[in-house]
Symmetry: C2
């Protein structure tokens, strides 16, 4: 008697992030390399933290609202970036508006350039201390990737694409996302860059 | 010409914790073994999170106030305990009152029994789901360690010891502590059980 084994679905991790989120930066810079190495499928899921914080009754990032926590976070970021070998400059504006790059990341989430685009925007925010929401800035990033920047931006701003980011953010909230980054492996939710390795390890479970 | 090297001070880590804090449980169970192995001096620093949360305008733990975060934290704890090989049962009361064991830990923070006491109280809270503030519960813990329980409890409740825990909590706030566990290596502050290994590694720096 032979046993028929169905081919198992490749493991898959969803990476929910906001370009304004500093801990999302830490994950964004290494998740693609890690998932490739481990043979895990990666789904980029840009969303906006703002509406989620608002729904919790917060007018801003907790790193701004809670002074002691904010003081710690910037020191922590310097240490974490040193540990992971990532460039770091504390943003002079925090949190930065991130709607336009989020719209573009949503538009391109299934495209080959998504990883490079996300890392480039994150690098602008957290290593170069540059605006990331200005159309010129986004244009420069897209152009640097060899993409038709005007066309991509026009599509991201089109009526057809309106509402998709809002829907994505609502989907995050509906699934219990309360901060970023957040990872899903199936229904299993992991919050924070500190859980990236655990989430990747979870993918290896049968 | 010879170079005179002063004997270097042994590395030292301060562990600020609350017996009510579930992430403090994770650290409390392994920090003594880790510091012994690494030759690092360990200072136990019990304090109360309640007044620190109050000062931030919170009436309770953020894990209670923020439903989505609370839902995640209990799932996270189950995974973290499995990862570290620690027993875990979600407390039916959270956060538990922890004033009495905190007073006793403060009284005994320089004693040989401090580690065993802290682990026993934490185990009651997070593995056995038992009250930790009841004098009978504390008595049983002290008695189980072969200590003169009545005498220790009386001393912890004495007028001379009154105010020390309040002062310790104020000292935490003054140093920027906003959650637990928090670690200090000199002036370097690390928040959260997820930073315990980083804090220990920091001790090895010249």
């Amino acid at each position: 008697m032979t046993t028929t084994t169905l081919p198992s679905k490749p493991a898959r991790i969803e990476f929910w992030f906001d370009f304004a989120s500093n801990y999302s930066y830490l994950s964004a810079m290494r998740i693609e390399e890690a998932t490739r190495r481990l043979g895990i499928e990666l789904a980029w899921r840009p969303f906006l933290l703002g509406p989620i914080f608002s729904a919790q009754g917060w007018s801003n990032s907790p790193f701004v609202l809670q002074k002691a926590k904010g003081d710690h976070v910037w020191r922590d970021m310097a240490r974490q970036c040193a540990k992971h070998g990532l460039p770091w400059r504390r943003p002079s504006v925090f949190p930065r508006a991130s709607v336009l790059p989020a719209r573009i990341a949503l538009l391109g989430s299934e495209q080959a350039w998504i990883g490079d685009f996300c890392r480039a925007v994150m690098t602008r925010n957290f290593a170069l201390d540059e605006d990331i929401n200005d159309p010129e800035s986004v244009h420069a990033v897209l152009h640097g990737l060899g993409l038709p920047a005007d066309q991509v931006i026009a599509e991201a701003l089109s009526e057809a694409h309106q509402g998709r980011l809002r829907a994505q953010t609502q989907a995050a909230m509906d699934r219990g996302v309360f901060g970023a980054p957040t990872f899903f492996v199936g229904h299993e939710m992991f919050w924070g860059n500190d859980r990236l390795d655990d989430a990747l390890a979870w993918c290896a479970q049968p």
